[in-house]
């Protein structure tokens, strides 16, 4: 199944509101889109979802800059969009704070900026913000672990983080730690991978050696999770359960099948940028969110980070990204 068909369905779901005039073709708008390098599945899913979303509208021309993890390069991409006079910019910054000045510049130039995923540090830098909830993700994972292990105060909890130098990773870990603390648990072993299958396998292999007995693992990212599961299988370990993160289709299928240690995953929506594109289009065309009474697009939308388990997986699997 390709992602775009998934998205069609999802937009079919979300498209209930599209019966409104919002989906009518309006003035053609050019939207600039810039995101970090698609060096892992979730980020690739982001860009792809954004493109797919734009394809659905005849009146949207999406200009996608090469994904980059160098803030300087990303800044220049936004500058290029400003020079170009695009109608709106959807920006998933590699580092929110670092991209703030250029976003401000765009706003000052009259180009609405939709900030996705990693927040700017100035409220004036974006017209609207679509956020995944990284801290909330950690909290959801922690709460789920608590719910399973709450009665075992000396349970061993391990964490496989994503790229450690990213603030979002810090947020997730913080949320996780906070939630665990609520039920008297803490993280006993923590390793960091790099959002890739391979790094996940490597980190997990070492982790399993470091901790001979584990009760629960939270793995930040389902992409690297494929590798983590491979490592677990190789080591022949199954005394614990694992919670994933991001919510890839792979992970959900594994949860559905129920034959691995992966019992749950916390969704971190990969459709944020697609939402951003929609908002950008509406903004550029002076439309509003049809399901809201409010005539203006809201300033901030924080997406939920629900826990997907065997019980509710059917509900989410269709919108999951393929990694």
């Amino acid at each position: 199944t390709s992602n775009s068909s998934d998205d069609d369905e999802s937009s079919g779901g979300g498209g209930n509101n599209a019966v409104s005039a919002n989906d009518d073709t309006g003035d053609t708008v050019t939207i600039g889109f810039s995101a970090p390098a698609a060096d892992h599945g979730w980020m690739a899913g982001i860009t792809e979802a954004a493109r797919a979303e734009a394809d659905k509208y005849e009146d949207v021309e999406l200009r996608v800059a090469e994904g980059t993890n160098d803030v300087s390069t990303q800044i220049s991409q936004v500058e290029t969009f400003i020079n170009d006079g695009v109608d709106a910019i959807v920006l998933l910054p590699f580092d929110g704070a670092a991209l703030t000045p250029v976003a401000l510049e765009a706003m000052e130039a009259g180009i609405p900026v939709i900030n996705v995923d990693r927040e700017f540090d100035s409220p004036f830098a974006a017209r609207a913000t679509v956020l995944g909830d990284n801290y909330g993700m950690g909290v959801s994972a922690g709460t789920y672990v608590c719910s399973q292990l709450g009665d075992k105060p000396d349970a061993v909890v391990a964490e496989i983080a994503g790229i450690d130098s990213l603030p979002l990773t810090q947020d997730r870990s913080q949320g996780f730690a906070d939630a665990l603390a609520d039920c008297g648990l803490d993280v006993d072993n923590r390793v960091a991978a790099e959002f890739t299958v391979e790094s996940g396998e490597e980190a997990a292999s070492n982790l399993l050696q470091a901790a001979p007995q584990i009760d629960a693992i939270w793995n930040h990212d389902d992409d690297q999770g494929v590798g983590v599961l491979a490592a677990i299988e190789n080591a022949g370990r199954d005394e614990f359960f694992m919670v994933g993160g991001a919510g890839s289709a792979n992970a959900m299928r594994a949860i559905q099948a129920g034959d691995s240690v992966l019992k749950a995953t916390v969704i971190y929506p990969s459709t944020q940028a697609a939402d951003g594109v929609r908002l950008a289009r509406l903004l550029a065309q002076d439309k509003s969110l049809s399901d809201l009474v409010e005539v203006e697009i809201p300033r901030q939308i924080v997406l939920n980070a629900p826990v997907v388990t065997e019980d509710n997986v059917d509900q989410y699997i269709d919108t999951a990204f393929e990694s």
Binding site: A65, D70, D84, A97, Q170
Partner: protein
């Protein structure tokens, strides 16, 4: 032999072709002055680093730690303490801090390499890991925001329409050119990189000079950190990721030999501009990033081949040891890891670097 343009003819042609491609595919949007400034602004940060790298490579070394040093300098210059001090006095304190941190780290590199006799590749790779780790620890993995508005205003402003960043880059390039071509320091750099033993026997203090080269590279990293701080209003341990590869690529495509002893600042600047313009043209044309990667690979190869053909073609009269080049140039071909066969530098291509 041949002026800088002649020697870098291929690069100039490649850049012009690239610009033509830009104009054809993106029209006014490319040729727009704002767009040109955008390209130059982007080129500034990596460009400054590449100038320092040019010296190190001509001097026979390599510096893999530049990206990490940019990160470390930017983080150190934006700690609460530094910013507090800057607020109490003047933002120049932040600039100063960045430059000192970069230079000192470069000093460590240099001492370990020259006196500890470690291979530069390993020593600076170790510094890469250590400096980035240190930056993370200092910043506690958070992005640190520059509070001083004056600092940002100064560096992100412009003079007569030319962004300060670009002016800094131009100044650094000119200073680099003068230093390399018009001073004893530059002359010694060529000597040390060309034949360290001969340089030593000619009375040059090779070790001390080596140290200075790495300090210089660290210093340019400090400058780059300042520019990046101005551009992003932040200091962060993720700044400068993979700058080492970008800088080395720009230097090498600019005709500087990886084995040292030969290279030009002009070539490096052109190399930086080619890479930056390439990215800009791609963005204007909305290419998917995978396709961009493929195209980038092909274009790099094409540009270097062009440079070789043009320079060796027009310069057969100037290229002495064309022996290996004509006869199937094996020396260069395989010491390719280090030598530039067919010599993009245009002088002495394929000159067997290992023959005595």
């Amino acid at each position: 032999m041949a002026g800088p343009v002649g020697r870098n003819l291929g690069l100039v042609v490649a850049l012009v072709l690239l610009c033509i491609a830009g104009v054809v595919t993106a029209g006014d949007r490319f040729a727009d002055i704002d767009n040109v400034l955008t390209i130059l602004r982007l080129a500034s940060v990596i460009g400054v680093v590449s100038i320092g790298m040019t010296f190190v490579i001509i001097g026979g070394g390599i510096d893999l730690s530049v990206g990490a040093l940019v990160a470390l300098s930017s983080v150190w210059a934006t700690t609460l303490a530094t910013q507090q001090m800057a607020e109490d006095t003047h933002w120049i304190v932040m600039v100063f801090t960045a430059l000192v941190v970069g230079s000192v780290a470069g000093l460590v590199n240099g001492v370990v390499i020259a006196y500890g006799k470690l291979v530069a590749f390993i020593a600076t790779l170790a510094m890469l890991a250590a400096a980035r780790g240190l930056a993370e620890i200092i910043a506690n993995r958070r992005t640190q925001i520059v509070q001083d508005r004056d600092f940002v205003r100064f560096f992100s402003g412009d003079v007569l329409g030319i962004p300060t960043l670009v002016i800094v880059f131009a100044l650094v390039s000119i200073a680099g050119w003068v230093l390399l071509n018009r001073t004893t320091f530059g002359r010694r750099t060529f000597a040390v990189g060309g034949n360290a033993e001969a340089a030593r026997l000619a009375g040059i203090r090779v070790q001390r000079h080596t140290v200075l080269l790495y300090v210089l590279s660290g210093f340019t990293c400090g400058i780059a950190a300042v520019l990046l701080m101005a551009r992003t209003t932040t200091g962060s341990s993720t700044h400068g990721t993979l700058y080492e590869l970008d800088a080395i690529a720009a230097v090498v495509i600019g005709g500087t030999l990886l084995i040292g002893g030969r290279g030009t600042i002009v070539g490096t600047v052109l190399g930086v501009l080619i890479f930056t313009t390439l990215g800009n043209v791609f963005t204007l044309n909305d290419l998917s990033s995978s396709a961009q990667a493929v195209a980038r690979g092909v274009i790099i190869v094409a540009a270097v081949l062009l440079q070789q053909r043009l320079v060796t073609g027009s310069a057969t009269m100037r290229t002495p040891r064309s022996m290996s080049a004509t006869s199937g140039g094996p020396a260069g071909a395989t010491s390719g890891g280090s030598a530039v066969p067919g010599g993009p530098a245009g002088d002495g291509p394929g000159g067997d670097p290992t023959a005595p």
